[in-house]
Amino acid sequence: MSPTEIHQRLQDQHDDAITAFEADALDPFVLVKSDSIVEVCQFLHNDPDLAFDCLTNMSGVDFLKEEYIQVVLHLYSYTHRHAIVVKVNMSREEPSMPSVETIWKAANWLEREIYDLLGVVFTGHSDLRRLLMPEDWVGHPLRKDFIEPEEYHGISTRRESLLK
């Protein structure tokens, strides 16, 4: 199925959940409302003509100037060999969206990573802990306005330039 057909199919079923569709982008994407992401993903996964059985990639992007955080899901179907990108926008102050872990197990760690690095809270996640950073780390390093702390447990994070 082409991305336009996939969008049409989604539109028929979940009209009010889809806020935008960009067919001319390099990877065509649909923009989905955050609170209906689970139903949309469930449909994408279960519908026999769509059968998106694999979540190949999931990333978080912090748009500082536009004041929102975007979570990007790259879906792929091994059955039909087609792909679609699903994007979800949320506020920068309290970014949160429902977890899709129940649909694709791969989302477990991918969501933990996004929580760790961007501070997006995935509601309903079974084990939402930091993944890459230490547990007591303050802040989310991939936020565009993140300022690295001067030290961590007495270890300086600064180093003088060797060229001086």
Partner: protein, 384 residues
């Protein structure tokens, strides 16, 4: 690492008093292939679970990309998976080319594929060598490393480095093949192809080795897809899928090669042995691809003209590359400036690590070593 939610109740039928045991494995355990840590919850020798604790090698490579620009990030991609850096180079080059709409000269594509497939041979040799060493056999490792050194020599002739190559550029490759390279590579392949059979005779069907791997930690196809296992780990479940063949990129559509899959020949389909055997078979396929490329390679330039300050249009691009550890996803967001706005690398080892908790339940502690080795996890690729 907090272990809340991972308590297990241990009960015995014979009434003997017992309790759950928490063991620490790593971060500097020789069999964890880098700095990885597992917290093992065990009931005697049987594991209840092994929880991976990662992040020891987190260098924030994705953040670095936002500071160094598109061209400047190329050497950093070597460090994502230093065991097979060529495909990481290729992934980054391809995603930038896609975002900016750059065409790679045909000879450049051939140089890339020759380099990548030699890199795959080197990576798989390390994988099958260390696998035997983890299980307890030292000798086959030295045989595999002996051959790997020869591949490293070839790659050194190509780009001057043996591990972190920095060979590719956005728009092609940095250098053309050196004079007489085709003869050198062919001579190596002639010697190397019989070695695969020799290696199989030496260890692959050794009784002790087979017993250690057969029926251990089998993964079904559905489970593998749900956890997004990729590459040899996915093919080990008997599912014939290879990005090079099924979502072809570069010049792979013109090349003739097979996609080996696990067959369950000594035990269950999708067990540790199947994953191991897929890598052995892929060695041969990579040799086939390199030979074809050397025959078909056209004359011409190897590098397109690309702006020094590359500024892809506003938008995002995603590519998938079949690296040695499977489908590697590269995602880049451009805001129209000369620095990537956001880069995300989804690697094969990352998803392989996330399934360890599930697979380790109910197997012996000693089998954890076989499991990690068979998933071919490389720690820096997990943490990035």
């Amino acid at each position: 690492m907090s272990l809340a939610g991972y308590e297990f109740e241990v009960q015995r039928d014979d009434g003997l008093a017992t309790e759950e045991m928490t063991l620490n494995m790593g971060p500097q355990h020789p069999s964890t292939h880098g700095v990885l840590r597992f917290v093992v919850k065990a009931d005697g020798e049987i594991m209840r679970t092994a929880l991976p604790d990662i992040g020891y090698l987190h260098r924030s490579i994705e953040k670095i990309s936002e500071k160094v620009g598109y061209h400047g990030f190329m050497p950093y991609t070597d460090r994502v998976d230093y065991v097979s850096a060529m495909q990481c180079n290729q992934g980054w080059a391809m995603v930038c080319e896609r975002a900016a709409g750059i065409e790679v000269p045909r000879r450049g594509e051939f140089c890339r594929i020759i380099a990548c497939e030699l890199g795959r041979i080197a990576s798989h040799l390390l994988s099958v060598g260390t696998m035997v060493m983890d299980i307890g056999g030292m000798t086959p490792f030295t045989h595999a490393i002996r051959e790997r050194e020869k591949v490293n020599n070839l790659l050194e002739d190509l780009c001057g480095a043996r591990l972190t190559f920095n060979y590719m550029r956005i728009g092609g490759v940095a250098w053309d093949l050196p004079p007489g390279y085709a003869e050198q590579v062919t001579a190596f392949l002639d010697r190397f192809e019989p070695f695969i059979a020799e290696y199989n005779d030496l260890i692959s069907y050794n009784k002790i080795y087979v017993e250690r791997l057969a029926n251990v930690a089998a993964v079904s196809k559905e489970e593998a897809i749900n956890y997004n296992l990729v590459g040899p780990n996915l093919r080990g479940c008997g599912f014939q899928y290879d990005v090079r063949r099924d979502e072809p990129y570069s010049i792979y559509p013109e090349l003739d090669f097979d996609v080996p899959v696990g067959t369950g020949e000594v035990g269950t389909l999708g067990d540790c042995f199947d994953r191991y055997m897929v890598r052995i078979k892929e060695l041969k396929e990579s040799c086939k691809i390199v030979r074809q490329c050397l025959d078909m390679i056209p004359d011409g330039p190897v590098l397109a003209r690309v702006a020094k300050k590359l500024k892809p249009p506003v938008g995002d691009a995603h590519v998938r590359v079949e690296a040695s550890r499977g489908d590697m996803g590269w995602y880049v967001v451009s805001d129209g400036s000369e620095f990537p706005y956001r880069t995300k690398i989804r690697t094969g080892s990352f998803s392989a690590m996330s399934i360890v908790d599930k697979l380790s339940r109910g197997i012996m502690i000693a089998d954890l070593i076989a499991l990690i080795a068979s998933l071919d996890v490389v720690a820096p690729e997990v943490d990035r």
